[in-house]
Symmetry: C2
Subunit: 339 residues, 2 copies
């Protein structure tokens, strides 16, 4: 018996939607969540693919995530859309506000979307990719929970605070990246802990604030940001822009709000979209070529563009109409189905 | 005889303006440049203080920087200002466009300023600080010259590509940072080379693309970004947003344009400003408090906020009405004065 289970793309979608709906998400939420889980699994981003169904179901079972919430989209200023997720998962609010964000960006050159009062579990790249499908460049940022110490600090204050960016390319997948500003993902530390392996230096501190390579001590202490004081500064910026700027929680407030419940973090999200046509003064063509020369120069020296591996997986999985997940995960997912 | 020369703040300003004007900058340019040199020297940012007069004078002597250029400010879209520096130093163009950037941001919630066709030598933090003085949060980015290799690469493609951010604080200096996305500044490598000291690991590669700790080999090869592939991704984003997005040069194009002349890099700059009042839905007060709790939590654990050291220097230097620079630098500056 294989350790993996292979699913067709259609059956992956069906599985995800049915699990979500049988646990109390309405069809709109189930579809919005499934779109992103599907996109991630299709690209072999296993950490944000079908695996996340476990977190979605845990979140709604904890009793605070509203699986029926209708997001409200508010046109607050010429270049600002706000979407109140009303305690639902963020994705339906994103979908509801996306057309207005695109419209405002096309009209005004740059615009922001602030999503408020949302539970958030998803990778950011599918969102910025969608803005690039509309011909726009985009940035997305969210806080998370306060597991990460600032540079020179001794305890968790910052979230893993991911930062995603996408740039549209004519006839090609966009140039897209999405990284946590912590050196490691929380889940990676957990994997080291389970395997009884020592962490690399520079990843974590213990509860007393001292550097540690002990994964257990790291789980009790705090993670560190990538890139020392520069990554730390960037992470603080993300706290500010995706928190106080948009009237929503910091990672520390989000963690307090969760009261230790195993649910997706509750906080806000900010997206910034750029219209290359207006910002370049109508010279998108020559600047697309300029950007392509930059990419070519990177690839030519043997470096990889971010997401390149993901796009290769996407093409293979679409061609084979199949994704593969561990049997144990598949069985855990099936066990979530309610009668 | 002391190795340092002490100047009053007024005499620093006078020195800077007179050196610039005697070398062909008109009064408007000389003042705009001096404002930033003054701000940096006042904060003991020696690398971007009076020392930069050498680069400004070299730049105009190379014959391409226009010391008389009048910037043109164009209102290209509701949330986009473009300022054509017309081959002048960037700072006069920034000053000319700043009121419109502030106005658009206050009106629309978010706005961008693209400065084009400028020679650029200055730190970015004085610019984002000025936006925070107007109650706004702000980001600034510029490319530079292609001295930095992308992660996994073997040669210079990216600039040192600084990224600056500022957040306004009620009755306090703003939360501001400004860092190069290269692990080291170009000047630091040069200091190691002169001192015959080995570089730390992870800072540079040699001309064959191999890791090196030899500063001489690093100058022939390329620098690395901070934070591995994440810092590299961020640096590529800066190339795109401060280059092709705004119809201006990448670091590689800027380097080719310079033809080896010892002048400030010629390229564009992008600033993004955020209006907390509109983005927070009018709840700035409670969100200012939220941001202050975040800062307090960082400082409380013994970590330093970025720029803290700079603000301490500022207060001391203002109180003493004095800045101190090496005598050798002072003499180099005096030697720039034309009869």
């Amino acid at each position: 018996m294989s350790d993996n289970v292979t699913l067709s793309l259609a059956s992956m979608r069906e599985l995800s939607e049915s699990i979500l709906m049988s646990n109390g998400f309405n069809q709109d939420h189930a579809q919005a969540i499934t779109d992103v889980i599907y996109a991630c699994q299709q690209d072999d981003c296993h950490s944000h693919g079908l695996y996340r169904l476990l977190m979605c179901v845990q979140s709604i079972q904890s009793g605070r995530v509203d699986g029926q919430a209708s997001p409200e989209v508010v046109d607050v200023a010429p270049s600002v859309v706000k979407a109140n997720a009303n305690s639902g998962i963020s994705l339906l609010a994103f979908n509801a506000a996306l057309p207005m964000l695109i419209e405002k960006t096309k009209q005004n050159g740059i615009a922001a979307l602030a999503i408020n009062n949302c539970y958030h579990f998803s990778a950011l790249w599918p969102e910025v990719e969608r803005l690039s499908e509309a011909g726009l460049a985009a940035i997305a940022m969210v806080p998370s929970h306060a597991w990460v110490a600032p540079a020179g600090g001794s305890r968790g204050t910052l979230g893993t605070n991911p930062f995603a960016f996408s740039w549209p390319r004519q006839g090609k997948h966009p140039f897209t990246f999405d990284f946590a500003t912590s050196e490691f993902a929380r889940g990676e530390i957990e994997l080291y802990r389970r395997a009884g392996k020592a962490l690399p230096e520079g990843v974590a501190i213990d509860a007393a604030g001292h550097p540690t390579t002990d994964a257990e001590a790291a789980m009790q202490g705090a993670m560190l940001t990538f890139g020392g004081y520069k990554g730390s500064a960037l992470s603080i910026m993300i706290e500010l822009l995706a928190g106080p700027l948009i009237d929503d929680l910091t990672s520390k407030e989000s963690m307090a709000f969760a009261q230790g419940k195993p649910e997706a973090p509750f906080h806000g999200e900010i997206l910034i979209a750029f219209n290359p046509d207006l910002l370049s003064g109508g010279h998108t063509e020559r600047n697309d070529e300029r950007a392509e020369r930059l990419f070519a120069d990177i690839v030519d020296q043997g470096a990889r563009l971010p997401s390149q591996r993901r796009y290769i997986a996407r093409e293979q999985n679409i061609q084979q109409d199949a994704v593969s997940i561990p049997r144990a995960l598949y069985e855990d997912i099936l066990a979530l189905r309610k009668a």
